[in-house]
């Protein structure tokens, strides 16, 4: 057989470091990392990219991305990204944040960066839990969902209803792109990539703030197997967090 007939149709993106991640089996973070890296490669902007890491399970994302990276304290990634982008308007800055990071401790920074229409891209990983600290209630934890700090299930009368990030930001004038996606199956994962691609394209074109929410899995703290976790996203999260585009200006 002639080997020259074979060509690579699928390869590790250059923008992704070739190493084993620390993520649990079935975790959504690794999937989204790869999508982001592919998008960077497809636009050829790896050498311009700067990732701003959250505090959460993906705190080490800068070790997995083969481009410049910056730590931010818990919830402050949008402010750090603002500082970076204001100094280097031609670099491609991505703030990657979890739900505790973006919608609890860092709500102020998230809303105001979006409201200023900062020309960077936010990827918001909604896994309905605080993964890193061992499964406490997140602002996005579902009603009745059992977590370490809601042992009898989240009671909205006591701790409020889960917050919808896209809808919240959609009340602002400035953002140019807001979309909620999911990685619970292959089709939705491809849609997620498309949304990330749009968010980066907007930034390259200097159009302003893009926000991509990704419904993601945390099998470990949900106490589920990977497939069960994916199903739980589809059956429990998606009905409350409708998928789709909220804004595409």
């Amino acid at each position: 057989m002639e080997t020259k007939k074979f060509k690579y149709v699928y390869d590790k993106p250059e923008a992704l470091v070739d190493k084993v991640t620390h993520y649990c089996p079935g975790c959504g973070h690794g999937i989204v990392h790869k999508l982001l890296a592919e998008v960077m490669d497809e636009f050829g902007v790896r050498e311009k990219a700067i990732i701003v890491a959250p505090v959460g399970c993906s705190v080490l994302i800068y070790d997995y991305m083969n481009f410049d990276g910056c730590e931010a304290s818990h919830g402050r990634a949008p402010a750090v990204a603002t500082g970076l982008k204001r100094v280097h308007p031609d670099n491609i800055v991505v703030a990657y944040q979890g739900d505790g990071d973006l919608l609890a401790i860092g709500t102020g920074e998230a809303i105001h960066a979006a409201n200023r229409g900062e020309n960077f891209t936010t990827i918001f990983i909604n896994n309905a839990i605080y993964g890193m600290t061992g499964g406490q209630m997140a602002p996005t934890t579902m009603e009745n969902q059992i977590t370490a700090t809601t042992p009898t299930g989240r009671d909205p009368m006591d701790v409020g209803y889960p917050i919808r990030g896209c809808e919240l930001l959609n009340s602002l004038e400035a953002p140019v792109f807001i979309e909620r996606c999911s990685i619970h199956d292959f089709k939705n994962t491809l849609k997620t990539k498309k949304a990330i691609k749009k968010g980066i394209k907007n930034q390259i074109e200097g159009r302003g703030y893009s926000f991509i929410e990704v419904l993601s899995t945390c099998p470990t703290n949900w106490g589920m197997k990977p497939q069960e976790a994916a199903d739980w996203v589809k059956d429990t999260m998606v009905p409350y967090y409708p998928l789709g585009n909220f804004r595409d200006n």
Binding site: R46, E47, K48, A49, I50, V52, A53, V59, L60, Y62, D63, M65, N66, F67, D68, G69, C70, E71, A72, S73, R76, A79, V80, A81, T82, G83, L84, K85, R86, V87, H88, N91, G108, E109, I111, H112
Partner: protein
């Protein structure tokens, strides 16, 4: 002198930052430092810079963090309650070894306190208000001229050591108008190969304080920081000794309270009483050796602060005989009085 101009302390500081090459400013309004953001908002666009009013002091210090990580000369300013909010950011900045200039125009506390000048944040400034093993360089101007001169110095020191330089002024100093000669740029250039500019033709740069693996590497970072802090301690102590050579009594103060002390020294000298003033220009590193020298032959040392006693701990640690260290302070926005200082010195007798 024709090159002298009249400026408010806060504005002189702003202009000096621009002279020093600062092109990015992030801040949140709070009295008595509002002239700084207003000045930067007016002036920075003229020089191609960026002024941004942040949504909080927390956001502002994190914007500073981002801009510094990007390699820019950057500043924020605030007053006491706002500086408290910046402490987490300052700790991260120390851990990530980023250079920046932070201005605290102190007001009365604790809590919301009041808006008059105070020196109640000495502990927070010199002991580290954020978490972890870190230090920041603290400069303590006493005149509008020094507000400008020390600001220019602050940017060079920040870049040289990759640390936060805190300019510790107070509401009186920020608001007072005095003649000054604007400083010149030092022209010093600092390479920043660590800055985040995009990994073009080089390996990716990472700006972070997190040190998880291997477990020992956090101690390695702390030891690197410690070396740096030792070098700062050895090389950057600054102070002024005024009429201390023959002094029987020594006043120790910084900032606005040192101005009052200087007046007391002059008046007491006219009465033939041999008194001198030791004034801090750096609060950290504390100029312990210079103080020890100035204090050596004195009978009594009066520490004067606009607080109820913070710097005095460093004075006691520095001099040979801590028993001879006495204290006079006013707080809550009140100023120490010249007459009271004179009365106390006279009461020490011979």
């Amino acid at each position: 002198m024709s090159d002298q101009i009249l400026m408010k302390g806060n504005e002189a500081l702003g202009e000096a930052a621009i002279i020093a090459g600062c092109r990015f400013y992030f801040g949140y309004p709070i009295t008595p430092q509002n002239e700084v953001p207003a000045y930067m908002a007016r002036r920075l666009p003229d020089v191609g810079g960026t002024f941004l009013q942040a949504e909080s002091e927390i956001a502002a210090i994190n914007m500073v963090y981002g801009a510094s990580a990007a390699g820019a000369r950057v500043m924020t300013s605030s007053s006491s309650p706002g500086i408290s909010l910046k402490q987490e950011g300052l700790s991260y900045i120390a851990g990530a070894e980023l250079p920046c200039v932070v201005v605290n125009i102190m007001r009365g506390g604790p809590g919301l306190g009041n808006i008059a000048g105070s020196q109640g944040d000495y502990f927070q400034s010199t002991r580290g208000g954020g978490n972890g093993d870190y230090r920041q360089l603290v400069l303590t101007p006493a005149t509008v001229q020094e507000m400008a001169d020390l600001t220019v110095l602050a940017f060079d020191l920040a870049d040289k050591y990759r640390v936060t330089v805190l300019i510790l002024g107070d509401g009186y100093l920020g608001q007072i108008s005095e003649a000054l000669t604007l400083p010149k740029p030092t022209g010093k250039v600092f390479d920043k190969p660590w800055a985040l500019t995009g990994a073009k033709g080089r390996k990716p740069n990472k700006v972070a304080s997190l040190r998880l693996v291997p477990e020992s590497s956090l101690e390695e970072l702390n030891l690197v920081l410690d070396e740096k802090y030792k070098s700062i301690s050895a090389n950057e102590c600054r102070s002024e000794s005024y009429l201390t050579d023959d002094a029987d009594y020594l006043l120790v103060a910084y900032g606005t309270s040192s101005r009052i002390c200087r007046e007391a020294v002059n008046e007491l000298r006219e009465e033939g009483i041999k008194v001198g003033l030791f004034r801090l220009i750096t609060a950290w590193p504390f100029p312990a050796e210079a103080l020890r020298k100035a204090a050596d032959k004195t009978k009594k040392i009066l520490t004067v602060e606009m607080s109820l006693g913070q710097m005095i701990e460093d004075v006691q640690l520095s001099v040979k005989d801590s028993d001879k260290v006495d204290f006079y302070g006013r707080s809550g926005g009140m100023l120490p009085e010249t007459d009271e200082i004179k009365r106390r010195i006279k009461a020490y007798g011979n």
